[in-house]
């Protein structure tokens, strides 16, 4: 518990905080205003929160002193107070009231001077909602605050995504919305904001701040992975990788976590040094299996990391690499045969494939092998045809193993 605080001292601290807020607004100091609104990272006891605890009549103090901000300041103080008491549900509700009042003011300000503060509000409301929802789940109640924060941020987005100087701040709010939707598993809600960002005629995407562009490309890239649009996913995640803060190792790692499966699916492999540097060795055996044509290793690697890969949603992408590994294996058999007996190298007996697979621990009969080879031919991973009667796969003499060339399988 905080040390004893006289009413006079408590009053002075609260009045001081309120004056700083009022000054920041009257002097249009967005950075200072933003710093005064960062409440979710505060420890349980701060000079201000101790003062609020010692002076329960603080809402009246705020509205008497600054009547023009009477919708904003009292709920803001309540939010700070509840947060210090670790009553996050209450803190969220009060903060949402303050945030609505702030948004109202922000709409009326013609210039975007308060953008940094608006962004802080957007960040804080998300972080407070997450804390509140955890609290609600713990007490067996329905966690609905994060969803509410999403609705509020849509209003903020609406205030920013308009023609004019405030638009540059819209992408930051978009990214906060993405974080909410991904967490709630309602990623389909991303669509309308994406459309609004991407169809803007009078605003060039490149004019948004780089940190927001990188975050945006990370999330939209992940969406494209879910939708199996690997070429677009590759573009977006590569953009994020290219422009991300080089100091931000954990974000680079997250980008790579999704970009690697995408690249593998179009036949591009990460260097070992990259996997080591970003501690992504769960992909190392998968990469090796592609190089070798080692189906057993692919299966082992997928089994070993199944939970992890399923959780981040790339398991199905990686499972499809099987066809590429088959292709590589057939190619190696073809090369080895060619060295021995060049004239018959383009004939691969299905029997030989069955035995090779057996050697790799995969039991399959001739019909199943034929089916897989048919699939490889259909997908243009192998050029050739079957001599069905003699159970032979006849490879084309010209370019029997066409390169993927960045095309997904």
């Amino acid at each position: 518990m905080a040390a004893y605080l006289s009413m006079g001292e408590a009053h002075r601290r609260i009045a001081d905080y309120l004056s700083r807020l009022d000054d920041a607004i009257s002097q249009s100091d967005g950075a200072d205003l933003a710093s005064l609104l960062a409440i979710s990272s505060a420890p349980a006891s701060t000079p201000l929160s101790d003062a609020l605890a010692a002076f329960p009549d603080f809402p009246r103090l705020a509205s008497d002193r600054f009547p023009h901000l009477s919708d904003f300041l009292p709920p803001l103080l309540r939010a700070i107070h509840s947060h210090s008491l670790r009553r996050f549900g209450d803190a969220y509700s009060s903060f949402e009231k303050a945030a609505s009042a702030f948004l109202q003011e922000f709409r009326n300000w013609e210039t975007p001077w308060a953008m940094e503060a608006m962004h802080m509000v957007a960040l804080e409301i998300r972080l407070l909602a997450e804390k509140a929802d955890r609290e609600l789940v713990m007490s067996g109640k329905n966690p609905d605050k994060l969803q509410a924060a999403g609705s509020f941020l849509m209003k903020v987005f609406g205030a920013l995504a308009v023609k004019g100087p405030k638009r540059v701040g819209a992408l930051y709010v978009t990214c906060q919305l993405f974080k909410i939707y991904f967490r709630l598993g309602t990623v389909n809600l991303c669509r309308s904001v994406i459309r609004s960002i991407e169809t803007a005629r009078n605003f060039d995407f490149e004019d948004f701040p780089v940190k927001d562009k990188v975050t945006y490309m990370y999330y939209t890239g992940r969406l494209e992975v879910f939708n199996e649009n690997f070429l677009v996913a590759d573009q977006k995640l590569t953009y994020a990788l290219m422009h991300c803060n080089p100091q931000s190792e954990s974000n680079l790692r997250k980008i790579l976590k999704f970009l690697i499966p995408v690249k593998l699916s179009i036949g591009v492999l990460p260097r070992r040094t990259l996997l080591e540097k970003y501690n992504l060795l769960e992909y190392a055996d998968i990469v090796t299996s592609l190089r070798r044509g080692d189906l057993r290793l692919l299966k082992q690697a997928l089994d070993r990391h199944e939970d992890q890969l399923l959780k981040c949603g790339v398991y199905l992408v990686l499972e499809k690499l099987e066809l590429q590994v088959y292709r590589r294996l057939v190619k190696k058999i073809h090369i080895i045969q060619r060295e021995k007996e060049p004239s018959k190298a383009h004939q691969i007996k299905l029997d030989v494939l069955v035995k090779t697979l057996q050697w790799l621990g995969i039991t399959m009969d001739v019909d199943e092998v034929e089916c897989i080879m048919a699939c490889l031919i259909y997908k243009n991973l192998i050029k050739g045809y079957f001599a069905h009667k003699s159970k032979v796969l006849v490879l084309s003499k010209q370019d029997p193993f066409p390169k993927l060339n960045g095309k997904p399988v």
Partner: protein
Amino acid sequence: MAAAAPADAKAEAAKMDLLEDDDEFEEFEIDQEWDDKEDGNEAVQQWEDDWDDDDVNDDFSLQLRKELEGGNTQKS
């Protein structure tokens, strides 16, 4: 959505799970800027698309060769 699920243990666990996202992008500081280099981060250069070569001298290929030859001798 997390909302109207029945309150059994499994649903609770799933709800808790929804409140986590291991892959959430870390917040860049609001005023954080960095030098956005023309040629980007070095990680962009760490990829190979010419790996699908004709080299069959790695360990795996040598074993495969043995396997194929073994199969042939059995037959003849």
